[in-house]
């Protein structure tokens, strides 16, 4: 009896690491099969309709919105965000830029346009659907967030500082969870986002469809939600804080071909 227990426990020690590896492989397979037929594309379809919809006091669509490559040019635009925009004199990510166009082109007020930025499974928000559509037009384009303009460099550095800045009720920073290799929450491996090789697969698959909630989630949502989990005060939508963090992480993942809106658990 004691001999068999000894053999079993010895075997368990040897088998445990390989079980973890097999689990990782199977989860990779799960993700691949989900990606091959993802509801994310439905949000792209909805987003395209919204992009073309006339709205606001000016009764115009967003089709002349300049995302960095000229009014109305969408192909490859998402992959070059966040970047500095002269007309707003600030660095903007996709969602802040969409908001800018809603206000300047469509004549909408910021309050109205941001009244419901994060939607639900039953009703995605305008931002979510639009993000899906715009991001999809960058499929295959290499990620290249702006890093040349002084304000871009400033935004990048702010994002990096914020990533490691411990604050809030729990004294957490992004690095508390995303700061060390091999860390996990249950079966979710936590990527260390200041390392390019770990940031690349992440930045190339946002925004994304979240299977557990059937919601389409964006990077602004992700920052907001992380801050919530870290017990920090809620950051404003499109704030310098959120844009800087998105900028830092996206720039760290530069060079990776954008895979298109992805899928998350």
């Amino acid at each position: 009896m004691r001999a068999s227990v000894l053999v079993f426990s010895t075997l368990s020690i040897f088998l445990a690491p390989s079980w973890a590896q097999d689990a990782k492989k199977e989860i990779e397979r799960y993700r691949q099969m989900v990606a091959e037929g993802s509801p994310a594309e439905l949000f792209e379809v909805a987003g395209e309709a919204l992009w073309k919809k006339k709205q606001g006091p000016n009764n115009v669509s967003l089709e002349r919105c300049d995302l960095g490559l000229g009014p109305g040019t969408l192909k490859g635009a998402y992959a070059r965000l966040p970047r500095y925009f002269k007309d707003a004199d600030r660095v903007m990510d996709l969602e802040t830029r969409l908001l800018h166009c809603m206000v300047t082109l469509q004549g909408r007020t910021p309050q109205e346009a941001t009244a419901r930025v994060f939607g639900s499974a039953d009703r995605p928000s305008e931002m979510e659907s639009l993000s899906a559509h715009v991001a999809a037009q960058s499929r295959g384009t290499k990620m290249a967030a702006g890093l040349s303009h002084p304000k871009e460099k400033e935004s990048y550095e702010l994002g990096k500082a914020l990533y490691f800045q411990r604050a809030g009720a729990w004294d957490f920073s992004c690095a508390s969870c995303h700061g060390e290799d091999g860390k996990r929450i249950r079966l979710q491996y936590l990527p260390v986002l200041y390392k390019p090789e770990q940031a690349r697969p992440v930045v190339s698959s946002w925004p994304a469809y979240r299977v557990s909630t059937s919601q389409f989630i964006t990077l602004q949502w992700r920052m907001n939600n992380c801050y919530q989990q870290m017990r920090m005060p809620e950051p404003n939508f499109g704030s310098d804080t959120t844009v800087a963090l998105i900028h830092f992480i996206t720039a760290t993942g530069k060079g990776e071909p954008y895979a298109g809106p992805g899928n998350k658990r």
Binding site: E26, Y30, M33, I185, R186, L187, R210, Q229, K264
Partner: protein, 145 residues
């Protein structure tokens, strides 16, 4: 317009407005069955023969039970239908697909799984039922994503 023609036109209009009328059968009994054996019985597959010709492609672990992708191919000649059951779901029968002329007995779908369970696939070919199954583990993920 005479009465007969009006009635005829009305009937035609009704048919056009309800194109599903002829095909809208839904096996309430089978889909309402609360156990796999009962569901199998409702689709006439109680004595299904295990078969390796039914190929189930699915991950062994699903990161989330809300969406579990399953791809099924039946290599049994003359396969007329494929049914998918998740044993531990409150209502095990999840889908049944009839393949008419020209269709390959192949389907990929996303199912909900409440917990780790055996996933059972029944193929009907040549008037007989065949079955294959696979266990898929369902985990609860972490907080991020």
């Amino acid at each position: 317009m005479n009465r007969a023609r009006r009635i005829l036109l009305g009937a035609i209009a009704a048919l056009l407005l309800k194109p599903w009328a002829a095909l809208a059968a839904w096996n309430k009994e089978a889909f309402g069955a609360k156990s796999a054996p009962d569901a199998l019985k409702s689709i006439g597959a109680s004595n299904a023969t295990p078969s390796k010709e039914i190929v189930i492609e699915a991950p062994e672990i699903a990161e989330n039970g809300a969406v579990v992708p399953i791809e099924i191919t039946s290599n049994l000649p003359g396969t007329r239908s494929i049914a998918v059951l998740v044993d531990n779901n409150p209502f095990p029968l999840v889908g049944k697909f009839d393949f008419l002329e020209g269709a390959v007995p192949f389907v990929k779908l996303n199912v909900k799984m409440g917990e780790t369970s055996e996933v059972r696939v029944v193929a009907q070919a040549g008037g007989r039922s065949y079955v294959a199954s696979r266990e898929i583990k369902v985990t609860i993920g972490g907080c991020g994503g």
